[in-house]
């Protein structure tokens, strides 16, 4: 029936391809586009010129456009939109698109293409964009007729945002932008085969609740699916946690889904997760995974991952089920809808927060907490990176703050020492681990939240990978703060070289770092250096008071490592707690050495 409607719809509303795109963007509620112009997309830029209610942010590199759109999407829950030209414009987006695919971020990326009659001729700035991006998008389109354009535009937004979100590319040959086609509204678009399941059989959810209620050593393990499901999922998770009294751990992607200050929160789990979270995962008898994908950073050695537990896995993506870890009860569905059902069933069945039954479990957990695995001693004048991030947290916790990060040690320290009370406040490249993510992502966050405090917790090596974006930040007067945890090393590389390669620090030291203060100044921002502990608070205050973008160059202890740590190839109960602990821990195995 839907099909007949699609065939018979009117097509008297004709306009140019470029106008169709702009109209579709507006109908989709898009307010801002991150992009960079070029020959193949000039007709579209011309159309944007004539439009008043679509803001365009001109980035300095197309990779940054995608990361900015990711930051926008992750802090608002709405799809981020990117517009780039053909050839190099498109190929430069590949890292950003892959990042969005790995972290399930909804992105619609419009790429220019050479005109249809030149496709396949190795024309100037031609690249096989749909071929190149097939593996790094959720879906992509090459539009060959202006008649298809409205359908494709609306479908792209639907595909990007529904089910497990992800990036969608629309490749637009230049002649399509000029030629005339009909405009169709969202409700008139052709039917799409993609219909993800959002709620599973109630019987299965009931079985899950029964299993949970019987647990003597239960744990809730949540991930990015909670964030993607919308803020409601986080409210429901809190309700479920309070209702059951069960401990909760979150992945890197899920931080903020349960307030960090909640007494039932065990902290992040995984390679640099807390001792209590990882031991609880190792020792639990019932595990409820909501919206996490048993990533290798989380599980450690698979054969010893949570060996005695009954595993329930709630995920909207069926292909995440039984991919790495075989689970006992898979439930396909959206996190919010599924948790809501669980709560209803729990209450309906009259299950109680059975304190005596899990009291012993909590006393074990308290014992592990006693290890105080994140404790550090700030002694002497040299700033400990953990202390720097802890101070930043203390000074910004009661502000309206959003945090992005780059990738490496500073990222893990940020995850460990910055407590997130709400979802959508923490933007980090989890799956792909993209150095250079944080600064452009912060731009997208700042554009979406112009009045809020946006901080990129950065490393000095990562931030240089997209440092050109300082120019964008200057142009749009974005008061972004980059808190650079500067140890002059690619810290995580150095840490692995120390642990696994006999401290042979091959190529991990940066010889010629810029003067970040002068660098900020040259782009029109502010900057300051903190060399010693006494200077740290002053620099943080100056950073928070500055109305411009700000580079805070925090010189930290150079050889500090990120602990606790599960060495690669080891199990959850084989953590290294601190640098003095290496004597009692097994060395990384040969199999572990081969892992990343």
């Amino acid at each position: 029936m839907k099909f007949a409607k699609y065939q018979n719809r009117k097509s008297n509303n004709c306009m140019s391809g470029a106008a169709i795109i702009v109209k579709a963007l507006q109908e989709q509620g898009v307010e801002v586009i991150f992009g960079y112009p070029g020959g193949a997309v000039l007709p579209l830029y011309d159309e944007l010129f004539k439009t008043n209610n679509l803001r365009h942010i001109l980035v300095r590199h197309e990779q940054a456009a995608v990361h900015a759109a990711e930051g926008y999407a992750r802090s608002t829950g709405k799809p981020g939109v990117v517009l780039v030209t053909s050839g190099p414009g498109a190929t430069n987006t590949v890292t950003g698109l892959t990042d969005a695919l790995m972290d399930s971020i909804p992105i619609v990326c419009l790429t220019g293409q050479v005109p249809t009659h030149l496709i396949g001729t190795d024309a100037f700035q031609e690249a096989d964009t749909t071929g190149i991006t097939r593996a790094c998008t959720k879906h992509n389109y090459l539009v060959k007729k202006a008649e298809d354009l409205a359908d494709v535009m609306h479908e792209a937004f639907y595909v990007a945002a529904s089910g497990r979100p992800g990036p969608v590319v629309i490749d637009l040959p230049k002649d399509i932008l000029f030629s005339e086609g009909p405009y169709h509204k969202v409700e008139e678009v052709r039917p799409c085969a993609y219909k993800p399941q959002v709620l599973d059989d109630e019987k299965k959810i009931e079985t899950a609740v029964d299993l949970m209620a019987k647990g003597k050593r239960p744990i809730i393990y949540g991930g990015g699916g909670l964030i993607n499901s919308g803020p409601r999922a986080s409210e429901l998770l809190l309700e479920l946690a309070e209702l059951t009294g069960y401990p909760v751990t979150l992945t890197l992607m899920g931080l903020g889904a349960l307030p960090a200050s909640n007494s039932q929160f065990l902290g992040m789990l995984g390679m640099h997760g807390t001792y209590e979270a990882n031991l609880a995962m190792n020792q639990c008898d019932v595990m409820l995974n909501i919206g996490a994908r048993f990533d290798d950073r989380v599980t450690g050695r698979l054969s010893d991952f949570s060996p005695r537990s009954t595993k329930i896995h709630v995920d909207i993506d069926p292909s995440s089920i039984n991919k790495n870890v075989k689970v006992d009860l898979p439930i396909i569905g959206d996190a919010s809808m599924t948790i809501e059902k669980m709560i209803k069933i729990w209450k309906h069945k009259g299950y109680q927060k059975n304190d005596p039954q899990i009291k012993e479990w909590w006393s074990d957990i308290e014992g592990w907490r006693e290890e105080k695995c994140l404790e550090f001693k700030q002694e002497g004048k040299i700033i400990k990176p953990q202390y720097a991030i802890r101070r930043l947290f203390e000074k910004t916790a009661n502000k309206d703050t959003f945090i992005t990060t780059e990738v490496g040690q500073h990222q893990m320290w940020a995850a460990q020492y910055y407590g997130f009370e709400q979802p959508n406040r923490w933007m980090t490249s989890g799956g792909l681990g993209t150095m250079g993510y944080g600064l452009p992502a912060a731009m997208g966050v700042q554009i979406a939240h112009p009045e809020s405090l946006v901080i990129d917790i950065a490393g000095e090596a990562s931030i240089l990978m997209n440092i050109q974006e300082l120019s964008t930040m200057a142009q749009y007067k974005m008061p972004i703060k980059a808190f650079i945890v500067n140890n002059q090393w690619m810290g995580m590389v150095r840490q692995w070289q120390e642990l696994n390669h006999g401290s042979r620090y091959s190529q991990s030291y940066t010889e010629s770092l810029p003067d970040f203060v002068k660098l900020a100044d040259s782009f029109g921002g502010d900057g300051m250096v903190a060399e010693t502990v006494d200077e740290l608070d002053g620099v943080i205050d100056a950073m928070l008071n500055s109305e411009k973008f700000f580079l805070a160059d925090i010189r930290v202890a150079k050889e500090e490592n990120c602990f606790p740590m599960i060495p690669s190839g080891a199990a959850h109960n084989e953590m290294i707690l601190n640098s003095g602990d290496s004597g009692v821990t097994p060395k990384t195995t040969t199999a572990g050495m081969a892992l990343v």
């Binding site: 029936m1 099909f3 749909t130 071929g131 097939r134 593996a135 959720k138 879906h139 992509n140 090459l142 595909v159 089910g163 497990r164 799409c192 085969a193 993609y194 993800p196 993506d317 069926p318 292909s319 089920i321 039984n322 991919k323 075989k326």
Partner: protein
Amino acid sequence: MSESLEQRHTIALLVDNEPGVLARVIGLFAGRGYNIESLTVSEVDTVKGYSRITIVTSGTEMVIQQIKALLSRIVPVHEVHDLSIEGPHLERELALIKINNTGEQRIEAMRIADMFRARAIDSTLTSFVFEVTGSPRKVDAFINLMSAIGNTEVCRGGVVAIARGSKIELGAPS
């Protein structure tokens, strides 16, 4: 968990007949190191533009589950059916076999072809081209026998498969 047990599965897909759809399907197998033993694709509804793809693959239960889940999330894929587990089904394959031989062996080739209901569709004084259809195992057997009695060149069409019974599983969606 039958971790080590690899099994052969025949999977039928109904997809939109559009450029790139086959590349998406194949890319999924290539990108994750899964094996394709046979693949056929052809348009089955010219009005609505649907193609049917039949894939024969093998893997552990977990791998097969992954393959099906990943195929299902490709946007232009409408239906994914694992014929091997959904009930009895039929598999047929077409093959063309050219054989060069002489004398007694030429007669033997004709005799075997007759047994397999293969048809000679081309002939010279020293060669035949046989057309044979049947289950993949029957085609295997025919090819094995032929290659024992002459030099052969083989072209196989790949497996096409459909479920037995009256139920229409992969008809064009309305």
